[in-house]
Assembly symmetry: C2
Homo-oligomer: 346 residues x 2
């Protein structure tokens, strides 16, 4: 360790974080990209700076509509996001596009948030597109996306689209990052089974049937009617909003303006009812406890001897040879006995 790094103390790091936050707020696009890269970093020495950065950005955050978008590959998510984004730019908004794809092995390796699939939008100065953070757990990817939302909002992006594709529990994670959840569908080739994962239809505040043009126009109408009928059977999760089914053509632009209009209705309704504020508070608490849980379980699994204990107990529980309660008690006893752990590094 040399003299220069001795100077790299906490105050300097905090000043740098505040500087970076200032440049983000001033509209410096490269600073925004660097900020998000720092927030995504999993290096322990970056976490201090990341915390300082979030702290400095938070007062400038919160002023956007956050919309999650999911749909199976092939429904036209990129085209839809681009069409919606360009429309929003015309209306004077600034649009950020983020992505949650926990399967992506490296940043830029996912097709989500891929600028080459949204070339026109990517060229706009009032649009900011970022691929998913890579690696780690779904919870980790989601928490880093939460911080990226803070960063883009601090730079004045007032509509944030968070894209995901139906892998594992990513929709559930994105639902806890956004105000409104949109499911994008495309009419099947005569097959009503859209391949939509169970549970997602009921999670949606808005369902959009894309590709309502040309040969698929009639099929799109039918799909819109069918989903509207299905939604009608379900009680809305909240009293302030009845989920709707719209259709559009991302290719021609038909229906896009109406979709944004409905999104604005949603925003007004959920602001009036206070739901936005309540939900964002609940989401932040969820991510806090999610991180506490993940860290505690990871420390348990990594503690001396625990891997052997789990390798013994987990198969016995799975096979029905030991009850879950006894196994849990044994795991906790072993952890309490063995985890004379060194002080955790901050």
């Amino acid at each position: 360790m040399n003299a220069a790094s001795l100077i790299d103390n906490n105050d300097t790091r905090q000043t740098r974080a505040a500087d970076l936050a200032g440049r983000v707020a001033a509209g410096d696009r490269r600073a925004l990209a660097r900020a998000i890269t720092l927030l995504e970093s999993r290096r322990p020495d970056h976490r201090d700076q990341a915390e300082g950065l979030v702290r400095a950005l938070l007062p400038r955050a919160g002023d956007s509509v956050r919309i999650g978008i999911t749909g199976i590959p092939g429904v036209g998510k990129s085209s839809f996001i681009e069409a919606l984004g360009l429309r929003l730019l015309q209306d004077g908004h600034r649009v950020a596009v983020l992505a949650v794809d926990p399967t992506s092995p490296r940043s830029g390796g996912s097709i989500l948030g891929d600028k080459t699939r949204m070339e026109k939008l990517a060229r706009e100065t009032d649009a900011f597109i970022r691929p998913t953070p890579s690696g780690g757990t779904l919870g980790g990817v989601a928490r880093r996306t939460w911080e990226a939302i803070v960063a883009v909002e601090a730079q004045g992006y007032d509509v944030v689209l968070v894209e995901t594709v139906g892998v594992g529990q990513s929709e559930t994670a994105v639902k806890d990052l956004v105000d409104m959840f949109l499911l994008l569908l495309a009419p099947g080739g005569g097959d009503d089974l859209q391949g939509i994962k169970k549970g997602i239809v009921e999670m949606a505040d808005l369902i959009v049937v894309n590709k309502a043009d040309g040969d698929l126009a009639q099929a799109a109408d039918r799909a819109q009617r069918d989903y509207a009928a299905a939604l009608h059977l379900l009680r809305p999760a909240h009293a302030d909003w009845m989920p709707q089914v719209l259709k559009c053509s991302a290719a021609t632009g038909d229906g896009i303006a109406e979709i944004w209009s409905v999104m604005e209705d949603f925003r007004r309704a959920t602001e009036a009812s206070g739901r936005i504020v309540r939900e964002r508070a609940r989401q932040a608490a969820t991510w806090m406890w999610s991180q506490v849980n993940e860290t505690m379980i990871a420390e348990l699994r990594a503690a001396p001897g625990m891997a052997d204990i789990l390798a013994d107990l987990e198969p016995r529980v799975a096979a029905g040879d030991m009850g879950p309660s006894e196994a849990a008690r044994r795991i906790l006893d072993a952890y309490a006995g063995r985890a004379k752990s060194p002080d955790r590094d901050s």
Copy 2:
């Protein structure tokens, strides 16, 4: 502490647990009730015995069809369970009815598993009805119900019905206790909005429209068609089973035999695909980790000084004044620093 309690050592407790398990397996009904009462007890001194009891019962468990039943108040759950139960008894089965109602303040305080609402079934020697365990967390109620399932299976009950009503996350919990999940509906008074909580329709392996008789017969037909159409839009969660919508009248008995026939189809399909075994293993692991998580978080919350730390940080996170990641890190640091905890009691 007197001499007699000094004799009450571990060996004695294990012998008693083995004895009780033996009496349960031999068909002693009172022993079964006592066994479940012991398993439900949250007294620390009972947990050792409970563990021994589960260990002794497990080898005799597993041979049943486990079916979860949910539906809003008024759809006729008790009548349906009674009609189904009586039918199963006619076919030579032995039926246990359990319940998960985390809001119940005391055992017997819930209307679920209430024998007075299933009087005919309650009088049958081959039927066993038990109200929900009371108090504690939903996870705790669910884990104790898991152990009650083991106990009733050990006494030869080969169909286990677990009833719940749509409170909080109880359906999600029951879904992790059973092989098959049934949603019971009743035709509305002209109002299609059945009041069903979002997410439950998509969780169901079987939807049953009850009260398909008299004035409501046509409405029941319509409801059956509407839900069948809605289900058709969703991809089944598993390749081995397409969820179905049936109708019945618990009052007249119409449709009950068909429902059991479909349940047997489900059993065969999910046995053939191996899903029953996989799911039960996954569920057991879920309950094990659920208990590890709950205990660890409870210990964190109870550790010296942690209540104050949480009272400070949680509102700040909810208000957007501190990021979730920083708050999580501070909580964990505080816990690591303060929890010089005494050895946990086994």
